[in-house]
Amino acid sequence: MALTLTVNGTSHVVDVEAESPLLWVIRDTIGLTGTKFGCGIAKCGACTVHIDGRAAKSCTTKVSAAVGKSITTIEGLSPDSTHPLQVAWTELDTPQCGYCQSGQIMAAAALLSKRANPSDFDIDTEMADNICRCGTYTKIRAAIHRAAEIAAQ
């Protein structure tokens, strides 16, 4: 089935089943591999992307539900890695193994678009569905605060 998806501002015509998880279409069909597979049941957050600006777990989103919407992946967060979160992440050496981090950053970006200056509590609750096996949570928290600071400058 030919579907048209808009990913990071670019239109892609993909020939996939309407039921296919968006994650696999993004990774395998379109070839953007920054978005990761973790649990497959929307519990770990590694596959977080934005659909019309809202965070979504792409592993449990049917590709048909994303047709006609604007999808943003980690590759499209900024053209040159200068999004405040990317700057803060680099500045504070936030990732350890890095596998969950694109999902973390996408969830954090959705949080910052709702709350420009989130508290520790806001961060802990809003990021609750993004799991990091290396345990970089405190660094993630610090990096989100730093990104809020950079964005406010």
């Binding site: 519990k43 809202r54 420009a116 609750a128």
Partner: protein, 431 residues
Amino acid sequence: MKRILLGIILVGIVGLIGGLAWAMRYPALDPIAPIDASMEFDSQVVALGRDLAGFGDCSVCHTDPRQGLEYAGGLPLETPFGVLYTTNITPDVETGIGTWSEEAFSRAMREGVDNEGQYLYPAFPYDHFTKITDEDMHALYAYIMSLEPINYTPPENELGFPFNIRLSLAGWNLLFLDTSRWEPDPTQSDEWNRGYYLADGLGHCEGCHTPRNLMGAEIPSKAYDGAIVEGWYAPALNDETTSAVPWTQIALVNYLLDGWDVDHGVSAGPMTPIVNHLYDLPEDDGFAIAKYIESLRPNLPTEAATAELVAFAAEREWDPENPPSYDDPGLQAGVEAFDDLCANCHKVGGTTVPLALTSTVRMPEALNVMNIIFDGVRPPLGARDHSMPEFGASLTDENIADVLRFVRVQYTNLPAWEHLEEIIAEKRENW
């Protein structure tokens, strides 16, 4: 005849002047010089005030989460009369309440009038705060005056005529404001009375859980009947409740202090900050509030009726080996959407509360389940592991309606939810 007419007109004019004079009876109170709160107030009083202010949820309304300036106001409150923006209550001299004396603060809290003598809108629950004791009021003032001043002017209210005329609130207060002090009920225990004081006064539980009349005042005869507030249904806490298992004091303590109870589910939506703040109150106060809330429902179902609902809940839990199937294509679409997303966790042997027992699924309104599907559950501090991801961007509006219809039929024997398409469209528009 002329004389009688003249007399009537004169009486009318005198009455009008008298009424206006009465309505305008609040003088402006003298501004105070900026105070150094750390010198002025005992730190223990400030700490008590902090916990009380948390429990009263002052910051929930007086903070715009998009800006994150705590207590500086600016949160838009949609009312049937227009949009109100909450005020800056930090002790900033220019834009906050830095020049307010304790008398001015206490008058605002009890009578709904600011330091200038201007009427405040009853979206500010002074009709409840009026019950606060002098001692607690002093602690609240001490805490608020100890906050970091923030120089920020919230947007102007957007209210139509005549609601933009603050003097009209004199009439509202005359009709609906009872400024008599709180009195304990001598027939009840101390624990119950403490709970009553906290819930009815500073806690202003009724502010959400009691329906309001056309003038925006709580309807006393419908106290705790449940009401729709800010796109959520604040459930009935009295005999009108549709809860499957009765809320005991212990269940309420679990819910109010941890945010989760095994027979009812997790707290969500506007209740979340309340639970987080209750966490800071002395534990006895949590038990007291629970005691009072428990007593709002005197007529409990029989144990047999409850047991039947518990058995029904177990029987209806999703079994991955044998999922339900429906002839109705809409319901079957709901089954499939549920299978894709919800059944990963909401299933037999899962760690979630059986859906048929959750208060939200049994409520007369679909709003809360819908909101949770859109935004997920961001649980309070004490129930972190009960989070649920957001699915609003992953599902079409049709999918969400299908899931809601299926959930109501599968997990309850209660009447179907109405207006699903409308509420989903409205949610999507403002999302």
